[in-house]
Amino acid sequence: MFYRQAGDFKTTYREDIHTFPLRQDRIGYYILLAFAFLVVPFIINDYWASAVLLPFLIMSIAALGLNVLTGYCGQVSLGTAGFMAVGAYSCYKLMTAFPELSIIIVVLTSGVITALVGLLFGIPSLRIKGFYLAVATLAAQFFLVWLFNKVPWFYNNSASGQISAPVRDIAGVMVTGPEAQAWAKYLFCLVLVVVLAWLTRNLTRGRIGRSWMAIRDMDIAAEIIGVNPLKTKLSAFGVSSFLIGVSGALYFSVYLGAVEVGEVFGIQKSFLVLFMIIIGGLGSIFGSFAGAAFLVLMPVLLKNIMVAGLGWPTDIAAHIEFVIVGGLIIFFLIVEPHGLAQLWRLTKEKLLLWPFPH
């Protein structure tokens, strides 16, 4: 009843193309951001950071990246974890080769390196589409993981084959390494998430975003309008890989601290990110976050209910958790194939009218 479009008139095109055209939406998001920046850092503890918030924020960036490629540009990719690994190993190599380099620059440069690798693997997309492209990206996934396992240069010849993040700080506050505080890691990731989400949103609402969607919806018609298919697909691969690379770098340096590539960046992680955007909503920024939240939070919640709440043994709880999450995925796909984002959109449409039927 209080959520209303009425009276919220737009008098300029500038107002009409706002990210949140409704004033109430805008205020809602400001409150959410203020809470995330001003309240959460003071109440966060290690458990919340490592079990919930860090994986959520970092996987959101990966989901955002895959959504650019698959949701907006329509190019299915199963190489997400492979590209995250590129981000992680670039980050490691940069951290160890240039110890004095700021971690912010390291993380962003890792994204750029991943973008270049992504461009390379995006070239076949001009010729192959759909499932066939998915198989080609699958090749990228296995090749990249194999490469990082096989070539000792990537893990600086360490005996275990693992890479581990050295201690780095921003303005004296440690953000990586075992002594880093939960709130510092959290804020570092949060800032990156907000900035990257904002940039991605800008890309998707303008010329470039429309050319991505044009290629997705009808590539022949896109071409006669003047959209160069190769350039457009490659730009989607580049932007997508940049985001995924950043998320891989953060996953390694801030979240885990030490990584064994086959375990952390295996094919199951690629599928996890793909499920995130399918459940969250293809072609939606909000959907990337909703999907990441769903698949990160749901297992934690279920574990808490079953182990802590009901006192079941952990192994049974772990298996039931798989069953329930799998069941929920199927349930969502049947009830709302366009994902949580569409559910959210419909709820808002209903709310605008509520309590009146029309």
């Binding site: 095109y13 940039l199 010329r207 050319s211 969607m213 018609a221 730009s235």
Partner: protein, 282 residues
């Protein structure tokens, strides 16, 4: 176009001045196909076709099913590359170009089967049609404030002019997948118009429409031709419409040209009548 003429002129200045067609006066030849032959394996789709399109006219291409009309349009906008023959555009022989390069030269088209971007709104579809007029790069787009936003708003004004012109204001934000067929056709015309093309190719703009929709569409085509001076080449099966709105007609049959001239000339052409009605075997 009066209110935002200065704006749209400003936006498209670089593009228009870059186009060779600016130098061509109405009535002069804009496009010419010369001895074009196109074959798919053993099937000859087009055989030795030559005709021209003059700037500012409505040129119809007609013919029975399978005559090669759509193939002709596909040659003009670069989907097919003919084995023989040449396409001259704006007085220059055209190299073998890709469709997106031809779009930048100022040729737009609609499709026989609607080819809209189903996941996008009417407005976004038409804004996508402005693609060739937009210049900001990836970085500017990502930052948005400044150049990208300014460009978006300038082009939005042109898009809104087209929305007004086609009387589709009410469905501006509706996803096009939800629209009825007749409106989808209209949005597709809008998307092609948004490019402000010199030559507009319409592949059966009135197929499957009822009489009112056909009348609307004919009016829009004539208005586009009058107000914007856009040259139009259209394929259409409704002979009444073709004879009414076109200045000159070219007739194809089995990939060969069998007639060319004003509607009156074509109507009295014996080869054309035979092609449509069949030849009496006596």
């Amino acid at each position: 176009m009066t209110t935002t003429q200065s704006n749209s002129a400003q936006v498209s200045k670089s593009v228009i001045s870059g186009r060779a067609s600016a130098a061509i006066q109405p009535g002069e030849e804009l496009l010419r196909v010369e001895n074009v032959s196109l074959a798919f394996g053993g099937v000859k789709a087009l055989t030795d076709i030559s005709f021209d399109i003059k700037k500012g006219e409505v040129r119809a291409i007609i013919g029975p099913n399978g005559a090669g009309k759509s193939s002709m349009l596909n040659v003009i906008n670069g989907f097919y590359h003919p084995q023989e023959g040449e396409v001259w555009f704006c007085g220059k022989k055209r190299r073998s170009l890709k469709p997106h390069q031809i779009a930048h030269q100022g040729i737009a088209r609609t499709f026989q089967n609607i080819a809209l971007f189903k996941g996008m709104s009417t407005l976004d579809n038409i804004m996508t049609g402005r693609f060739t007029h937009m210049r900001t790069n990836l970085l500017m787009q990502a930052i948005w404030r400044g150049a990208a936003e300014r460009e978006e708003i300038e082009n939005r004004q042109v898009a809104e002019e087209i929305i007004d012109f086609l009387e589709i204001q009410a469905i501006r934000k509706t996803p096009v997948g939800r629209l009825p067929y007749g409106l989808q056709k209209r949005v597709e015309l809008g998307r092609a118009l948004a490019a402000q093309p010199d030559l507009l190719l319409l592949d059966e703009p009135m197929a499957g429409m009822n009489i009112e929709e056909k009348e609307d569409m004919s009016r829009f085509i004539l208005d586009v031709n009058d107000e914007f001076g856009t040259t139009i080449a259209l394929i259409e099966h409704d002979m009444g419409v073709v004879m009414d709105i076109s200045d000159r007609v070219v007739v194809l049959d089995y990939g060969k040209k069998i007639g060319d001239g004003t509607p009156t000339e074509v109507r009295s052409n014996q080869a054309v009548v035979d092609a449509y009605l069949g030849v009496a075997h006596d």
